[in-house]
Amino acid sequence: MKTVLRLLVVLLLAILAFGGGYWYASRRPQLAPRPTGVTTKPSVVVYVPRFVDTRTEWEAKPVPVGEGEDPLRVALEHLLITRDTPFPQGTRLLGVNVTEGVAEVNFSRELIDNFPGGSTTEAWIVESLRKTLAQFSDVERARILVEGKPIDTIGEHIDLSQPVAVR
């Protein structure tokens, strides 16, 4: 009798253990966050051109944005000094203002005074600016200013008399 009782208890415990095992195994697998080496710290991209045969290829260069910095300013300032920038030597960003989708980008005199010439160079300057501005969703068009005054052209090739669409 004692043996039967003991067997029953063991059997009961076995059934409980089976149930527990089933419950343990059938839990939804937890998708634990994996370390990926990927960070999503805010940064911006600037674009610089180069020729590959006769076609222009654009290189995207990531630029980190520091705490409390304006990403738009960071991008434009970096575009002026980054390696392979098409912008003339010494060009500085005096300011940038976005009103109703139009970015008024104010550069120093060097943009025109130090412009080395060539429609390729001129197109690359405007195009790198356009591409760099296109990542900011609040910018639809751009107007280039030199020392606060809108300009018609940088180097007498490209028509800049009207704001230009950035995308």
């Binding site: 415990l13 990926t36 999503t40 710290k41 690359w124």
Partner: protein, 490 residues
């Protein structure tokens, strides 16, 4: 009671194993997110998944490659077609189901390239930016505007037929749905490519496309069965205007080929405005040598004077926007041609790049997708390319390099071109530009191109004379693309 414990342990083990089997049959695993799209935008690769995934990136050497592992993720049933142009730094883009739940994307690199990967907050997209990060601590960029585009199935080209009269050749293309097409001049001669992206030929499409028309030498169709990119190569017998017309209701596109504007009569009857770029205080580009400098404005004027000389000999009417080294306002130049009601506007320039010796060759620009300007640019570029001994960079749209285009072309009412004879900051090009013999050859070619536009080529091209070119839509589809505007209601 060690025996009882043993039984208990066995029962638990059986429970775990049995339970796991039972649980799997009872509750199917939720479907994994799939890899949806791979898209190049310049040197940035966008990787798009159908759900929240994690991206893990690392580098492997010999051969050099960047790997992106996406998990949990599987490949979709439909094969993936990467969009956009692979940048030159990347030899090959590959992807595969690496193991269960992991899709691996591999970029085979030609050389050491820095890269940065960042994920979209949704966890469904990642952006892999290639290129030298400017900062040593080089933090990856954030995905600012995720431009995910759903891929539509390719349209079928059902029918092509000519409807021509003596004046005009018209090719009607009937498609299974509306698509946007592009017209693009080929680098060589009077050849234009009509690009049909996302179009595949239908099985019923007849094979013979040649038509007898005085304007047309040959038309070649290159059908892409995969429907990524089909194309038509149109060879005309002379400089011709090609236009694309979209039917407002039906998915029908008509390519209209005509004699361009002011292409009747004789060159001697025409009034040509020649515009030597820059002048006076505006130097244009500067070519620097050991102990001297060469100004673009001077070369432009020298060539322009020779063009005038030759045109006057032809008894044509010529006006110069500047006769000497004086400064003329940019917008006054096309205005002068408009006020005179001139037939042609020819602007002469020399190009320059930020880095010396980085580019060489001759380009003739026309405005946007103006069919007459394109025809004039093709005629002049054809003759220029034959004499400069420099790389032929082709007739190109000015909006291919910058969207608003060149001021003098945008604002002139007549067929107009801007010629970039050569690169003044390239040693080979500059040596030629300074040479009076070269200047004369260039001037003669410009006049020959003008004459060919007005009067036609002196002797018709023969199949033997012209250089064979293949229709290479994929590799030609670059920034030279001239998007043909779609009707607004599309």
């Amino acid at each position: 009671m060690p025996r009882a414990w043993r039984i208990l342990a066995w029962a638990f083990w059986l429970g775990v194993v049995g339970g796991r089997i039972l649980a799997q049959t009872a509750e199917p695993a939720p479907p994994l997110p799939t890899l949806q799209a791979l898209r190049w935008e310049e040197s940035v690769l966008y990787i798009v998944a159908s759900g929240k995934v994690t991206f893990h990136t690392f580098t492997l050497r010999e051969p050099l490659r960047v790997v992106v592992d996406i998990s949990p993720c599987s490949l979709p049933s439909e094969p993936i077609q990467p969009e956009g142009d692979t940048p030159t730094a990347v030899e090959r883009l590959r992807w595969a189901q690496f193991k269960e739940g992991v899709v691996r994307v591999v970029l085979d690199l030609r050389s050491d390239t820095q890269y940065a990967l960042s994920t979209d907050p949704s966890g469904e997209q990642a952006m892999l930016a290639l290129g030298s990060a400017p900062d040593p601590q080089g933090e990856p960029p954030r995905l600012v505007a995720p431009p995910a585009k759903p891929a539509a199935p390719p349209a079928e080209l059902i029918q092509m037929e000519w409807e021509s009269n003596e004046e005009e050749a018209r090719l009607r293309l009937r498609l299974s749905r509306k698509v946007a097409v592009r017209l693009q001049p080929h680098r060589e001669g009077y050849q234009t490519i009509l690009e049909l992206p996302q179009v595949k030929p239908s099985a019923a499409l007849p094979a013979d496309w040649n038509v007898k028309h005085p304007l047309i030498e040959e038309v070649q169709f290159s059908g892409d069965e995969k429907g990524v990119r089909s194309a038509l190569l149109i060879r005309t017998t002379r400089a011709a205007s090609l236009r694309v017309e979209y039917d407002k209701q039906q998915p029908v596109i008509t390519l209209a080929i005509n004699r361009p504007r002011n292409a009747h009569g004789k060159l001697s009857e025409k009034h040509i405005v020649i515009d030597p770029g820059h002048g006076g205080k505006s130097l244009g580009a500067v070519g620097r040598e050991k102990d001297s400098v060469v100004y673009e404005k001077d070369i432009n004027l020298a060539i322009a004077r020779r063009v005038r000389q030759l045109l006057l000999k032809e008894k044509a009417t010529v006006t110069m926007t500047r006769e000497d080294d004086s400064h003329v306002e940019l917008y006054a130049r096309p205005q002068l041609a408009n006020d005179l009601g001139a037939d042609f506007f020819i602007s002469i320039h020399c190009d320059s790049t930020p880095k010396p010796n980085s580019a060489s060759g001759t380009t003739t620009y026309f405005h946007a997708s103006d069919p007459d300007g394109r025809a004039l640019a093709q005629a002049i570029q054809k003759h220029l390319a034959a004499v400069t001994g420099l790389p032929n960079r082709g007739a190109r749209s000015d909006t291919a390099i910058y969207q608003s285009g060149f001021a003098v072309l945008r604002r002139s009412n007549m067929p107009a071109v801007l010629i970039e004879v050569a690169y003044i900051n390239h040693d080979v090009d500059r040596a030629k530009l300074k040479d009076p013999k070269f200047q004369q050859k260039v001037a003669e070619a410009i006049v020959a191109g003008l004459r060919a536009y007005v009067e036609g080529e002196r002797e018709a091209q023969t199949a033997q004379q012209r250089r064979e070119v293949e229709v290479r839509p994929a590799s030609d589809r670059r920034e030279e693309d001239i998007p043909v505007q779609m009707p607004e209601q599309l």
